[in-house]
């Protein structure tokens, strides 16, 4: 059972392996280029485990010490996880000792896989989520450490490899779209994201986008709930 769950989790995390190793290498090179020893990015990869904040943390470390600002900026960058938590409340229910680890390791990519995938047959739900989370985290940590140790030796042209993340989210969105008969909330998501991007700019649009989505979904709760109920009766 445990082995089956591992076997099911591994192929689904392979795209993340590619993406995380690329980004992790880049981050390791970036951090050591700022004069930090290799175990600094390694420590941050384990303690923070959130790519975008880890990049920002390097520039925070190179600025004057400002604990309050550090905390507030970190919270704002990571605030989207609050919404991931709401989406995973039911899926992570009743998983015992694994649950705290799953929540700690819930980065964008792990959330994406665990939230979207239908559980394969012969799998234990808890172990499957656990292996997806653990594999993804190990890719990130090893990638970061490798990057900080050996950044200078990478010779092949990796330009554009980071696009793998874009394709992953786009494919997951497509599958969600196909699995749902009602697309009203998907349209709301697209419109809010683009609207927030135009309004707040590329560096800080995610939280406003999520707030707009929750507000719009709340506003249209009655018609959307009715649509979903009607679609499941057909």
């Amino acid at each position: 059972m445990i082995f089956n769950s591992f076997k099911a989790a591994l192929p689904r995390t392979l795209p993340i392996f590619a993406g995380f190793w690329f980004l992790g290498l880049a981050y390791g090179v970036f951090a050591t280029a700022h004069g930090f020893p290799f175990w600094y990015p390694g420590l941050m990869a384990i303690a923070i485990f959130g790519g975008s904040l880890e990049f920002v943390a390097v520039s925070m470390l190179c600025s004057p010490f400002a604990p309050l600002q550090t905390f507030i900026v970190s919270f704002l960058i990571q605030a989207r996880h609050i919404f991931y938590g709401i989406a995973m409340l039911e899926k992570y229910k009743g998983l015992g000792w694994k649950k705290p680890y799953l929540i700690y390791a819930m980065c964008d990519e792990t959330f994406a896989i665990n939230c979207s995938s239908q559980l394969p047959e012969g799998c234990d739900r808890g172990w499957y989520y656990f292996f997806v989370s653990l594999l993804n985290q190990s890719y990130w940590v090893t990638g970061v450490i490798a990057g900080s140790l050996a950044g200078d030796f990478i010779t092949f042209n990796t330009k554009g490899l980071g696009f793998v993340m874009t394709t992953m989210f786009a494919v997951i969105f497509t599958e969600q779209w196909r699995n749902e008969r009602i697309h009203t909330h998907a349209y709301i998501g697209i419109v809010c994201s683009l609207f927030a991007l135009v309004l707040f700019g590329k560096d800080s649009f995610m939280v406003p986008a999520l707030v707009m989505m929750v507000a719009a979904l709340t506003l249209f709760r009655k018609p959307i709930t009715r649509q979903i109920a009607e679609a499941s009766h057909d």
């Binding site: 420590l43 550090t70 929540i103 793998v164 560096d203 929750v214």
Partner: protein, 112 residues
């Protein structure tokens, strides 16, 4: 390079980690697993993910500049190719590998 003392550096990293943990745990702490989750929160949990993925696609493409060369053309072609593969084969790995390979070819050779 940093001007902070070691203690200040560790506090800074610790605060980043603490803020992250709070955002990841807060929803699970706010709603007890023993009681059923409120209907409104269940509704958000059901309808929100699709929008989140739309937002993450937008996030990945946030650095694309439509006004200057190459005007987002490589991204548009590679994304269209990814989606076409997905609708045809429905194999996530195939679509992602194909789309990324095409994108790398485009930005390294065609639009270089």
């Amino acid at each position: 390079m940093t001007d902070m003392t070691i203690a200040e550096q560790m506090i800074t990293i610790g605060l980043c980690a603490a803020a992250t943990l709070i955002t990841r745990f807060i929803s699970f702490l706010a709603f007890s697993p023993k009681k059923p989750t409120p209907r409104y929160i269940q509704y958000q949990g059901l309808t929100l993910p699709c929008g989140i993925f739309a937002m993450l696609v937008v996030y990945c493409l946030r650095d694309v500049d439509l006004l200057s060369f190459p005007h987002g053309i490589p991204e548009a072609i590679a994304l269209a190719f990814t989606l076409a593969l997905q609708l045809w084969k429905r194999q996530m790995l195939v679509s992602m590998t194909g789309g990324t390979a095409l994108y790398m070819l485009l930005v390294q050779q065609v639009f270089a």
